[in-house]
């Protein structure tokens, strides 16, 4: 376990911040710009995982297990969320045709 912590600490903390912000930015941009619902769900997962990366790095840096526990909870919640999301998508697909978000305009904004 100690090896992992030292291995994580080899890279400066700022690099982890930059990488995780990049991933988060890609996720946000994808969720806002892409029109395919499956890709949007993937982008949401990417956002959550960028937070996971940041938390793991911080956990090694602070020597605090709290952030690692948080990572497990985030993975759990992400799994639950995706389960519900895909089920909703299947339901929608039965009622309408296709997975293009632009068709969803029965309820006007």
């Amino acid at each position: 376990m100690e090896d992992v912590v030292t291995a994580i600490r080899v890279v400066p903390l700022g690099h982890y911040f930059v990488l995780s912000f990049l991933l988060f930015g890609i996720g946000v941009a994808g969720a806002l710009l892409r029109r395919n619902i499956l890709i949007i769900i993937m982008c949401l997962e990417l956002m959550l995982n960028s937070v996971n990366l940041l938390l793991v790095a911080l956990s090694a840096w602070y020597g605090d297990a709290g952030a690692q526990v948080m990572v497990f909870f985030i993975m759990l919640v992400a799994a639950a969320e995706v389960t519900v999301g895909l089920a909703i998508l299947v339901q929608l697909k039965r009622n309408a045709e296709g997975v293009d978000i632009n068709q969803l305009n029965r309820l006007k904004w």
Binding site: I41, G85, I88, L107
Partner: protein, 460 residues
Amino acid sequence: MSALILISVLGVVLLYLGLFARKGILAPVGIIGLLGVMALFWTGWHIPHAWLGGMLEFDRFSIAFNLGMAAITVLIFLFGPDYYERMERHVAEQYALMLFSLAGGFILSAYHNLLMLFLGYEILSIPLYVLAGAKKYSLRSSEASLKYFLLGSFASALMLMGVALLYSLTGSFDLARLGEYMAGHGEGNLVLGFGLFFVVVGLAFKVGAVPFHFWVPDVYTGSPTLITTFMASVVKMAAFAGFYRLIAATGMPGSLATTMALLVLATLLVGNVAALRQTNFKRLMAYSSISHAGFLLLALLSHGGTQGGGLSVGGTLLFYTFTYSLATVGLFILFIIAKRANLGAEHNGIFQGLWHANPWLALCGLALLLSMAGIPLTAGFIAKYQVFLLAIGAGWLKVMGFGVLMALLGVYYYIMVAKEMFTPAAQPTTFVAARLNWLVITLCTAGILLLGLWPSLVTL
């Protein structure tokens, strides 16, 4: 806290009953269980206690909010048997999911740790995504559910980034540590600013504040009406309780105060002005809920000001959300009665002829609408009055003036609905109210009037 365990077990029990028992037994079991939950909370009133190593803190604030949320859920469950009368399958799941969502609300009102904030937020939300799509063969319902899911997950991911940034500063998820850190290095810290901003965005999404309100009208309109009622009442209470706990720990530094003031102004303006043009009653209620969120945010904004007359921000939030929820439940049940009388139409005109067919229901509806609008003698007036007093105490005079203006504007659209109730219908319609629905509407009206005369009944 045994109440939290009981409510989770109760949900599972209801799921099993759905497999083996008649659906008539579901709502009574749920209501009895909820009363048990309330009794367990009540025993903790005089002994505030922490749980899970201080991650949850059941103090008076959270217990009062939890009692309120459970009471409103009981009212919604009383409406359940009639609403689900013609539905044969999957009724138990709907009750159970509402209970699971309520458990998330309990956590959200009691968290003392950012991990629990995230968990409570998600436990509150995920069942709602499913519930919004509960009408399986309605495209409108599925669409509302998907929109809620996509926007909700996006907001929770943003909030999570905020939590991680705050953690990077203190090395702990504990709210007390965060408060200490902020007292030390308050202003001009970029990471702190962004962290708080992201968390506030996540919570502002859940309460439906402009500019994160896009989902509210769509989801309220598309969801089954019972679920809309639940979202507009219980979920709103839980979200504001969670918001308050964050603000109570961090205080209101200058940058956050500016953001919040902008949120308040935008929410009040968009909520009230957009509501003026709505013809669909559910959409009208959605925009009205946005405008009420504006007033509640104004109360939050006033945190830290001088508070005269025994007012506290937490107490005002409790009083406002509770009375608003009472009025919402009553009005939505009335809406269902009118909708059935008009073959499923949802425009405001469906209330026509209510006075001539059923004077008592029309009077109750009038009282509930006046409370929403904030006319004196109703609880809605006291609630808005408390918010404005708090805002004056904190020195937000211009924002408060704008709030008063918007409250006056808001009276118009509520009166328009009330006017429909007293207009004779073009062709005679019969409004059939089951005895239980009649009872719930009467209870809500009685509560509104009672709290309008004796506001001290609901305090911290």
